[in-house]
Amino acid sequence: MSEIHHDHDLEMKKALRPQIEHDTKYWETLEQLNNDPEFAKKAQTEFLSSPLREGDGEDGFARREFLKLMGASLAMATASCVRRPVQKIVPYNKMPEEVTLGVANYYTSAYFDGSDGLAVLVKTREGRPIKIEANPGHPFSVSGLNIRSQAALLNLYDPERAQGPKHNLFNEKKSNSQLVEIKWEDLDKKVVEQLSKGDVVVLTGALASPATRALVSDFAEGFKAKHVTWEALSNEDVSQGQKASYGEELVPAFRFDKAQMIVSIDADFLGTWISPTAFTNQFAQGRKDIKKMNRLVSFDSNYSLTGGNADIRIKIKPSQQLDVVMGLLHEIIISKGLSSYASNANVKAALAPFAGVAKKLNIEPELFAKVAADLWANKGESLVVAGGLAAMTESTKELQIAVNFLNTVLENDGKTIDSKGGNSALKGSYQAMTSLIKDMNDGKVKTLIIHRLNPSFVLPAEMGFEEAIRKVKMVLYSGDRVDETGSHADYLIPDNHFLESWNDLELANGVYTICQPAIRPMYDTRSFQLSLMTWGFLGKAGPARLRDYESFYDYLRVYWKSDIHPKMAKGTDFEDFWQQALQKGYVGDVSKASNTSRSFKVDAFTAIKPAKATEGFELVLHSTSQMGDGSLANVPWLHELPDPITKVTWDNYVSVSIATAEKLHLKQGSVVELLVGKKKMELPVYVQPGLHDEVLAVSVGYGRTKAGKVGNNVGQNAFALMSVSNEGKLVASGMSATITKLAKSYPLATTSGHFSMEGRQIVAEATLKDYNKNSKSGIKKHEIWSIWSGHEYSGHKWGMAVDLHSCTGCSACVIACQSENNISVIGKKYVLEGRIMHWLRIDRYYTGDPADAQAVFQPVMCQHCDNAPCETVCPVLATVHSDEGLNDMVYNRCVGTRYCANNCPYKVRRFNWFNYAKLIEKPMNMALNPSVGVRVRGVMEKCTFCVQRIQDAKTTARNDKRQLKDGDVKTACQTACPAGGITFGDVNDPNSAVAKIFKTEDRGYALLEEWHAKPAVRYLSKIRNNDKENVGGQNGHGTAKQGEHS
């Protein structure tokens, strides 16, 4: 009875709801369709962007499967016809306007992982997203992508995503797990019933969506709920440090592009810290003009990506982080007597114990003094940063205060540090989590709504989350699967993937980005926002805007109309504003103006006491740019991506220095028992050059147990090694640890066999001083002649330039290539055998003294040699040259002799040893790019310079009745590169960017030039700004020694 009444009520309510005018061009209707049950039913047979068939309803996604329709997958009904397999074509019932078969559509969207955010374009074909592309020109994430934003595509198609709401039939103690399916109506009823009992807590990650923030606060208002924000990889240390130093609890905007001198103390801003993608972009901008390039000094306790790219990398251990900053301050304020604080007795007293830090830390005193002098010399144009998991030591707060003080002394605050421009979403807090757990234990939490967080996985046992959550009456988990935390939830409320929902994001203060859905929800899922709205509606709680709309899209528009439109474009028509925002993907701009500097609370600084010197190993936990907090652990691309520094796939491990390894007789793959406090963990060893001898570094994000088939039990969960200090603070780094060698070994699947360039000119490198003397420094040119003039290329001649100076090795290009070109994932066993399939790999070499090794990175793809050695040896003409200078690889002609790969000096060819394409589980096949063939067993494959994009660009130009122009063709790796290190184009077009590099750039050289394969790829030499001379040039790598006679 009540149900009928309820339904009736709902209908009535709907009729009364305000109507929103929808424009028809974009996707808003979908969300609406999806959320209206009746509409949704109809949509079973009519999906806007893809042809449907009746009877396909049970196969939720197959109907959208392009391949089936276009005959690519040859899902053949062989029938009795011997002549040929019969294929059926099913046309649309009504052709959706925006869909042209075979032509991709792009939708603007954005990705935010709790810290790093970037604007993206979602490339769809026939209604299914097939690639995440960069949205160039976005004011914050100017260009490029990171690894996980691209890999999130596979998360959409993860076969193990939750496909509908679930109820866990718990026993009294909540110790069992018995999942049953439940209808949304029943779930909502139960939830609303419980919500009305009060004591509600909404636990979310950093919410960068202003509309969602508003919605959560509306909800909190309605249900008297508390909103707790927590992130596994939080930036709490920065915001707390800011609070202590300046009185403002925020994460400021760091402007690496404005800094001439950057000092990082374990802040891996190029890899994992805050917004690595945007920072990489800024950092690269600051180096583009080599004569005026910035200098990066990294004090690194783990070998981070930032350390790998530093002009000067100085290894430290975590307990020395504070010493380094204080030491630098000591150099400036006391040794040199500079800055206005030089006369402040308290400051002097606080700094006094830090005299001679360099010596204590085993750093060359001159070098340390030079760093300090450089900082001072670039006053107002320098930047000192510290933070991240590796800096989460017991004295993390002191470290942040000291860093802030140093920045204030250097007058950077307000210049390279913009307190107003930061992302206000970065509020994840372990303190808040600690008090939440306390509340849960005290029975003060009756309902806990968790949105896409995994505290059970992250929080160490001593925080007691597992016990506390069992004391909560009802736990609602809005995630994408029953993961470690989800298994504690009474109700699993499957959340939409970000590509399935409307959303907005504020990535930097004042820059608003709209996320459009690119596909209708694949399963019976509901966005977190809509769940809150539904409960608000059913529970009759909260302000009107929470209750009155039937989709989050409506809420979003209303919010934008009331809150964002007036702020950003007062006086214009909202519809125009909205349209523009959708098309561009963003509104607003980052503040360019300098801010005033804030006043520093010197008291906080003078309270800093020197830490006790420690002996023995210290543990460093760090996150990696591929795995992050482990939330995307079920995406195989991420596991198979070689770590940018160690080049290890499919595992985490404990990194030790070479000296330590020798001392303890450890080899790569030896298993050790790591003992931290009372916690033990068995991990394989990775011998890392350039690591401090007393450091044991382990990456987090691995060791998931309920991520899915791919991600479960890959590596060990190093989050568990975090400990709670005596003061109740969570510590992730600097704990004393010991290792014991076990009589076991465990192979680590590395993709890079060798550290050294063996004196060959592979990565040409010069110091800035050398470069200023001779811009060709570091490059050994060879005299090359041929007895034959070669073929002429009269039309296009494609070429690529890779700037090793810009390349940070971040590996976004590798994933972009993998996504674009349907590159198979093969798994650890085969990677171990050396069979990784990446067409584009990043070779990492170390130079200099192994104990203080410096890293260089080199992306290597097919070089499309004019005199391609591979072509000559193919017996069946499966790889030949096109008249546009491409080294064509014809998969269907290949018989698989593999001679080409043997004869390729760059070893860029990959072979399908087994039928890897068969490993693609449905619906992962929907992520395949239909413009690129899927390779079968027994054929060779390799980089094609994204020939499908060249062909598409030609089609577009032809449709527009114009000639192809520079910039029309952008390869996948090029668009993904946040540093703008890859240039592609027509070398025969004298005005193209790439032709100019080929002709005029002194730093350009071809890899293995003396081999005279005439590659179509030019590398631009790397310049290191480190005051040295003739290092890395003629003598350093012995480039002069080689090739003279060849």
Partner: protein, 186 residues
């Protein structure tokens, strides 16, 4: 005598063998280099399967002179030539010939939001990327490859769609068409 008989038998069998083997050899020589080395997907010149609704091109194109691109409307923009949506049929058939049983069948599908399962006639393997748009832009007539569609009551495959067939047109100098592998294979 006996021996001669054996000899005779032997010789006969040899002759037979010769005949057989020469037959086999000529089969190999004539057919193998041609079509039979290929798996069953190609070279189905003349293939004219029965369609669920016997759509008559000769009536629509030949008699009624409807332009090809009226129905196959994406062919100028896309590499694919689309099969028209049912709604395209309905543009006319909501009024025209509504009494015919096949049109009623179509109407039924249209109203129910369903579609028609046409049997595919022209099929290229998925490692060939044929681009309709490029050929239309070059001014290649539909009939050049698809034959006299305006006279076909049931569509049949006019060309063999073999690689040789493609290449022999592409390599004519007057066509100025590329014959790179990556023109079609990528």
């Amino acid at each position: 005598m006996h021996r001669e008989f054996i000899l005779f038998q032997l010789l006969r069998s040899l002759k037979l063998n010769l005949k057989l083997s020469s037959l086999l050899l000529s089969t190999l020589l004539v057919f193998l280099p041609g079509c039979k080395f290929q798996p069953g997907w190609g070279y189905n010149k003349g293939y004219a399967p029965e369609q669920p609704i016997p759509f008559d091109h000769s009536l629509h194109v030949g008699t009624n002179k409807i332009q090809c691109q009226y129905c196959h409307n994406q062919v100028e923009r896309s590499k694919h030539s689309n099969i028209p949506a049912i709604s395209t049929c309905m543009n006319c058939h909501l009024q025209v010939a509504t009494d015919k049983p096949n049109i009623q069948k179509l109407r039924e599908a249209y109203d129910s939001g369903g579609s028609v399962e046409w049997v595919r006639v022209h099929m290229l393997p998925d490692f060939v990327h044929f681009n309709h748009n490029a050929h239309i832009a070059k001014g290649v007539n539909c009939q050049t490859c698809h034959g006299a569609i305006e006279k076909m009551t049931r569509v049949e495959q006019f060309s063999d769609l073999s690689m040789g067939w493609c290449v022999n047109c592409h390599r004519q100098p007057e066509n100025k068409a590329p014959i790179n592998c990556s023109t079609c294979h990528y």
